[in-house]
């Protein structure tokens, strides 16, 4: 036994694509004890053969942890102790087997345990099954008691329906049916008792809202001659359902609680011809459990198989005639209605397929649970929605098929079942001729049974049922099928990847369909849809789908796009919304009447600017011209060929324009073929990308003539220019042979070098007089060649470093005529309008910072805060910058995603000091690294949505973000880190990120306990959820997409205090601005600040350093002109006088001998610290209204007093001409400080009483300086 298993597991280990584990587990006997706790769906060994003593032990280990938590942990401790102190217990054969098997089969026990745990969580409680059983029994009785209707009645003349509150659940009007032959309906009670179908039949019910499907068989006597034609079957089916619904009201079996409110109709798979009855469960006489919001029962009516001949509905038959749509009958050939036929066959073959499923699933927990796993996987990916969806039913049938094909065995574990299904699905091709599959036995060849080839001619995808007539995938969209197949392949890959614990990716995380799209096309305006249907839909399609608009529309639009886009897209997927159930007393709602398509771009081709057609003399040239209209041009190419071609953009356009080429193509196609104008449809692509584009307010033509910049550039474009300029500088530095030591390496560390700087960097830096002015400074690190002569004294080392700075600065000045300045932090260099700061890294500096004397008197090197910061900056950041730059080379959407994300955070007032920039970059990089490359989006906007999903859905406590660049960390190191993370969670920061470059700072380098702290983390999560919600609703609804401002303008509620800054002291950012909710809009200020000054950042830093015990400070680092503040809770409580806790405290005026923090004193501090920078301080409302009321005229009243007047450094004239004069006086808005005793106010300057201060604004004549231009 052992040998066989070993062999099997070895095969698995080698990663064979075919499922070799089917040979495995010959002794599994899971059916033996269906109710035991051990029965978890995994193959577990029977323990009969081993000595009793040992088997007891191994048994104990198998008991699920839920039941024996304490026992287990106690035992774990015991065994651990024993392992260390005493002899190791000899392992049993079983134990070794189990351990090895799990290791090989699941790569780690963890996956196995996780799956097991998930299955227990998902298991439906017994009370549900009880209720369902009882309900069904009652329902059977109810049906038994029903009487047949005495006689047939005309369809429009059903007396019972007219009397009843219930409305007939089909609307022929919605299907554009105009003429109807009269038919008659008579209720005859079913001969076969109702039976469970769907999930409850295969014991694979899934929460949180459990859905039970029950099928009622409609007897053949209900149908008459030619009832198969022209939707009469569907109508009779609906009458039958309505009749039962009517009788259910107030029947004896279900009591008076079953009112019309509990009965709803809905469409089965959004099919308007297939209404089903949705029943909210009520307490039963024999089962009182109330499950109303956790369970629903769906009644499905299906005709008995004998009602019609199955061959009536072979794909090529026509069962819907032109006449009912009022179309011209003459001359039109009878057209095949293959999809309609399939929909009828679904009902007719219901019973037989169900019987087959029973034979396969009944009593096989492994199959049932395997199916549950697959369904969870499917539902998380949202492929199972709507008319075109890949339903769970298909999965069930596929399991059955694989069983029949002997690919699945009765003794496989649930994991193996799921794995095999994925594997088989991944390599299936049901859409290719002859490769479709069939459940029917070939031996019983019925007359007229279509062959697979025939199925393939009529349907895109073929999967035939057990009768051999019904193609279950008739409605499945072929693109969706491809997508499911791809996902299945990815699932197998993930399982094979030894380094990955794939559980979360497979089962726990949601991958909503919309977040996989790069672009989205929405056509949903009623008249536009009607126009397309009217003119461009073929009658054949109309009859085929029995007048249902949705599939026809999708087919028409999809066909056009597919042809026009070709290789540019990986997939075009329809996205459907489930039509909500409606109350049975209402008329049926209109079914889907829109076309929402998600487009997944192929990054290799999508951004090409040219579509090359056939040569002008070729046959196809004419078609090509016709298809593209006037866009088609004859072009001669460099290779001499002259071909028809379409040009969408110019070859040297920036990437953001080329990202929208597909939009141009689709817009053109819709315009050319359907005469749609751009207002007729919505095309969602790159709306949020605007956040890193150059603001249109800034006019580049006013810039320095030397360095021309286009007006419509974004930060991605400008980054490239900066990098080029820096590379040139690097070459010049390398060539400085006059230095005593050679410069051996030069690396950038600013975000711009990893394409992560969301604010465009423009070549504007310059010298004005003796000062250097620049908006941004880009930093780089150089390293010198080795030398043993560096001093081992920190001061001397730094002195030499500075000497090098001076020399490099001099050389650059003399040899290359560059402007340079030396600071302690590096050399500032002006080059081509960019400002760079070059600093030098030296390993000895790091070592000296770490140097300490140990107690033994030895010198040791211990990491300290300063040394870690230096190591990160000089040694680790350059490496990470390189790695992220490489990531960008592979996936160009990375840059945009990071930029949008950073802009989003900054506009939400989360700056680098609260949430380090690198955290954003690394989180997104982690997401990119984890995603299989085929699923990585090529649009930044989608990347950002995924980032929001990450923020919104991550459990920060249990998640470790590990970026194993180039797989530099081996498995053991990863496992070790993960182990430490899980056992010593508290030694890691709340947000934990680690990269393979971090050396021994793993996990603690990029974030810390205070950056971001738990509160900030929680706030960001909350903000992300909110933003995601807004985006999601906008994407899925039929409404227009949101204006970007909706998620880029921060809410202003919740802040205690706002400090408005002087607009002319803070320069605006060059990135697109969305405005602020704190102050009225002020004129932009394009004044260049002193290079490397950034006073606002410094100010907030100082405030945080000094006052973080009292308040939290927020500001927008990208041109924000206010600082918002939240006081710490319980700040002003009275407390005892303790020497270490009196900071900021004053004597309490209420209680003697106690002290308390006084906010108003702190506010005075802020005013003092921010002197000349702040304009006014007050609550949110005060500042907002004050900033609105501040009229330009006020400035004239400003009085200039004070002995010292602050004179800001003046930039060049033209940058000042825009500067705003009107707000330059300082105003003070009193803080809400009602408890200041007005009596004690002595000061002359405060004339008003403190209560009034808050209302009356007072012009504090501090200073007002108008610039002299």
């Amino acid at each position: 036994m052992l040998k066989i298993k070993r062999k099997a597991s070895e095969e698995l280990d080698s990663g064979a694509a075919e499922d070799s584990m089917i040979e495995n587990g010959s002794s599994d006997n899971m059916d033996d004890e269906p109710s035991s706790d051990n029965d978890d769906g995994f193959s577990e060994r029977s323990v009969s053969a081993s000595p009793a003593k040992v088997s007891k032990k191994s048994r104990k280990e198998l008991i699920p942890a839920t039941k024996a938590k304490e026992k287990l942990s106690a035992e774990v401790n015991n065994t651990n102790k024993k392992n260390q102190s005493e002899k190791v217990k000899p392992p049993t054969l079983e134990e070794i087997n189990e351990l090895k098997e799990t290791r090989n089969l699941f790569h780690s026990n963890l996956f196995r345990l996780q799956v097991k745990e998930m299955l227990t969580e998902l298991k439906i409680k017994e009370k549900y099954n009880n209720y369902i059983y009882n309900w069904l029994e009652n329902f059977k009785q109810f049906l038994n008691k029903l009487e047949n209707q005495a006689q047939k009645e005309d369809m429009g003349n059903q007396v019972w329906l007219k009397k009843s509150q219930i409305k007939y659940p089909i609307s022929l009007h919605n299907l554009h049916i105009q003429q109807q032959k009269v038919f008659q309906f008579q209720f005859i009670k079913p001969k076969i008792s109702p039976y469970l179908i769907g999930a409850s039949a295969t014991q694979s019910l899934l929460g949180p809202k459990v859905t039970v499907d029950i099928c009622i068989s409609m007897p053949e006597e209900c149908f008459q001659k030619e009832n198969y034609l022209n939707l009469i079957y569907d109508q009779k089916r609906a009458y039958y359902l309505a009749y039962i619904a009517n009788k259910l009201l107030n029947c004896a079996e279900f009591g008076s609680e079953l009112t019309t409110e509990k009965l709803k109709f809905s469409y089965h798979n959004n099919n308007p011809l297939k209404p089903i009855l949705e029943i909210t469960p009520t307490p039963l006489s024999n089962c009182k459990t109330i499950l109303a919001d956790k369970l629903r029962i769906l009644l499905f009516v299906a005709a008995e198989e004998s009602s019609f001949k199955l061959s009536r509905f072979v794909p090529w038959n026509s069962n819907v005639r032109a006449s009912i749509f009022g179309d011209d009958v003459e001359g039109s050939a009878v057209m095949a209605t293959s999809n309609y036929n399939a929909n009828v066959l679904f009902d007719l073959t219901m019973q037989r397929n169900q019987e087959m499923l029973h034979g396969i699933f009944d009593g096989r927990r492994n199959f049932q649970e395997g199916l549950v796993l697959l369904k969870v996987w499917l539902r998380q990916r949202e492929f199972d929605v709507g008319f075109n969806g890949f339903t769970a039913h298909l999965l069930t049938m596929f399991v059955a098929y694989l069983y029949k094909q002997r690919k699945l065995h009765t003794n496989m574990s649930s994991y193996q079942v799921a794995r095999t299904v994925w594997n088989q699905l991944a390599y299936s091709s049901w859409d290719e001729d002859g490769k479709g599959i069939s459940l029917s036995d070939k031996s019983t060849d019925l007359a007229n049974q279509p062959t697979l080839e025939q199925f393939h001619t009529y349907y895109d995808v073929v999967f035939v049922d057990v009768t051999g007539f019904f193609n279950m995938t008739a409605n499945l969209n072929v693109e969706l099928y491809h997508r499911v197949r791809l996902e299945a392949k990815l699932a197998v890959d993930m399982l094979n990847d030894m380094k990955l614990n794939s559980f979360h990716m497979l089962f726990m995380t949601k991958h909503p369909l919309y977040s996989q799209f790069d672009h989205m096309l929405k056509i949903n305006k009623r008249d536009v849809v009607d126009q397309i249907m009217e003119i461009y839909a073929t009658p054949a399609d109309k009859y085929n789908f029995a007048g249902y608009v949705y599939p026809v529309l999708i087919k028409v639009v999809l066909g056009l796009l597919r042809k026009g886009l070709g290789e540019r897209v990986r997939a075009i997927l329809p996205i459907e919304k489930v039509v909500d159930a409606w109350n049975c007393t209402e008329k049926p709602p209109d079914c889907s009447r829109y076309c929402h398509l998600g487009i997944v771009l192929n990054p290799d081709k999508a951004f090409e600017v040219l579509d090359k057609g056939p040569e002008s003399i070729d046959e196809g040239a004419d078609d090509f011209r016709k298809f593209w209209g006037e866009k088609a041009q004859l072009r001669r190419f460099q290779d001499g060929s002259i071909t028809e071609s379409v040009v969408w953009a110019s070859a040297n356009d920036s990437l953001w324009k080329r990202r929208l080429v597909v939009r141009s193509i689709i817009t053109h196609l819709l315009q050319h073929h359907f005469q749609l104008e751009s207002k007729d449809f919505d095309y969602i692509a790159g709306e949020l990308d605007i956040s890193y584009r150059l603001t249109p307010v800034f006019k580049t033509e006013r810039m320095h003539e030397k360095y021309k910049v286009e007006q419509d550039v974004d930060s991605e474009d400008t980054s490239l220019n900066v990098i080029r300029s820096f590379d040139d500088l690097a070459r010049k530095l390398h060539a400085l042979n006059e230095l005593p030591l050679e410069i051996v390496s030069i690396a950038g560390i600013s975000p711009v070098f990893r394409y992560s700087e969301p604010v465009p960097v423009l070549p504007q830096a310059r010298m004005i007089g003796e000062e250097m002015y620049a908006m941004q400074v880009q930093r780089g690190v150089i390293q010198l060649g080795l030398s043993g002569k560096w001093p081992s004294d920190l001061g001397a080392l730094r002195a030499l470093k500075m000497a090098f700075y001076i020399q490099i600065a001099n050389l650059l000045r003399e040899k290359h005529n560059l402007k340079t300045k030396v600071t302690y932090d590096g050399i500032l260099v002006l080059k081509q309008g960019y400002c760079f700061s070059i600093e030098m890294a030296h390993p000895k500096e790091l070592a000296l910072l770490k140097k300490e004397k140990s107690e033994r008197g030895l010198t040791q090197y211990v990491d300290c805060e300063a040394s870690i910061a230096l190591e990160k900056r000089h040694y680790i950041l350059p490496k990470v910058t390189g790695a992220l730059h490489a990531l960008y080379q592979g996936h160009s959407s990375f840059a945009g995603t990071v930029m949008i994300a950073k802009r989003w955070l900054s506009t939400q007032l989360i700056d680098d000091g609260l949430w380090p920039e690198e955290c954003t970059e690394l989180l997104i990089a982690a997401q990119y690294l984890k995603t299989p490359s085929k699923q990585i989006t090529s649009s930044p906007q989608t990347g950002f949505i995924k980032f929001l999903q990450l923020l919104a859905g991550t459990d920060w406590r249990s998640e470790l973000f590990l970026l194993n660049f180039n797989n530099a960390m081996n498995e053991n190191a990863v496992a070790d880190l993960e182990h430490r993370f899980s056992t010593e969670r508290d030694t890691f920061p709340p947000l934990c990120i680690a990269t393979s470059f971090d050396e021994h700072h793993m996990g603690n380098l990029w974030s810390s306990g205070s950056k971001p702290n738990i509160n900030v983390l929680a706030r960001v999560t909350l903000l992300a959820r909110h933003s995601l919600d807004i985006i999601e609703t906008a994407l899925l609804s039929t409404m227009e997409f949101i204006k970007p401002g909706r998620i880029f303008v921060p809410p202003n509620n919740g802040y205690d205090l706002v400090i408005q800054l002087k607009p002319d002291m803070v320069s605006n950012s060059w990135a697109h601005e969305f405005g602020t909710s704190f102050t009225a809009r002020s004129k932009p200020n394009w004044r260049l600040p002193l290079a490397d000054s950034n006073f606002l950042q410094k100010a907030v830093q100082k405030l945080r350093e000094a006052y973080s015990d009292f308040a939290a400070f927020f500001y927008n680092p990208h041109g924000g002109k206010e600082i918002a503040l939240v006081w710490k809770p319980n700040l002003t409580n009275e407390r005892d006088f303790k020497v270490n806790e009196v900071n900021g405290c004053a004597l309490s005026s209420k209680i003697d001998g106690k002290v308390a923090v006084k906010k108003e004193i702190l506010v005075e501090d802020f005013k003092f610290i921010l002197k000349d920078l702040y304009l006014r301080i007050g609550t949110v409302d005060e500042v907002l209204s004050a900033s609105r009321n501040a009229l330009p005229a006020d400035s004239k009243t400003a009085i200039t007093t004070g002995s010292k007047v602050f004179n800001p450094k003046i930039g060049e004239k033209r940058y000042f001409s825009q500067a705003q004069m009107d707000n330059s006086e300082t105003e003070v808005v009193g803080v809400k400080n009602n408890h200041i005793q007005s009596k004690t106010i002595k000061s002359k300057t405060i004339s008003a009483k403190s209560k009034n201060i808050s209302k009356k604004r007072r012009t504090k004549p501090l200073k007002a300086k108008k610039s002299k231009i």
């Binding site: 026990n109 000497a803 405290c1145 000349d1172």
Partner: protein, 267 residues
Amino acid sequence: MPEIEGYKVVPLRLSADRPLELCHQIYMREHFIRLEDTDKPKGRTLFLLNVPPYVTEQSLGTFFRTKVDIPNKVSFAERPGRNESEKWQQHYIPFSSPTAPFKFKVAYVVFHKNTGVKRALQLDSIDLFNSDGNCVLESGMQLWHLQYQKHILNEKELQARIDKYMESYDKREQEALEAAKNSEADAEGWVTVGKQGRNAGFEQKESVVGRLEEKIVRGKKKKELENFYTFQIRESKMKNIVELRKKFEEDKQKIEALKKTRRFRPF
């Protein structure tokens, strides 16, 4: 003037027109601890609590010199206690940007005469403004601009400072080297051992010592065969089993931890 727990409470005034309720209150008293500290001599040291971040040593010193008329020296610390004053000073490294902590702090004012403390305790307020009523402390944009000016270095001046510093450093080094070469015992019988010369000692670094110690251990181990006796093979197998079991248990514990956070419900 009010007092609390033996501290005298005085307002810190930054400008003449600021109302007293909007001023920070400074708590001061004579510095007194059992352990004598030479830097803070008994009887001559004034101890101040709750000094706001923006107050500088110089401004406090000037104020007390003019009011008390006795020369003094002011030093800060984040909190009272041993080594705290040194820690406050620690941030200073030659040739790097000054980064004095910007925090609430305590101050020690050491007067040159004993009467200083007494006289200082008589004061009604600490006024950091000049006769015009303007604050003597730089703050806001003015301060930052000043700091920025200092941040951009004058190269000639810097070069001169570097040369001077290096000269004295070289001198120190030279002296140390001399001392090492000259292997004579000093008065107490100690001999300085340098890196060079015949009697060079090894560096007293932890890594060096560790390596040496490791070498000794490794030397011993080399002589053993690891895969020779049956018991060794058995033991290594046993270890393997223990390893597997351990992983299994660890995973179980992980699950246990995960379960507490309820991460098994997909929807």
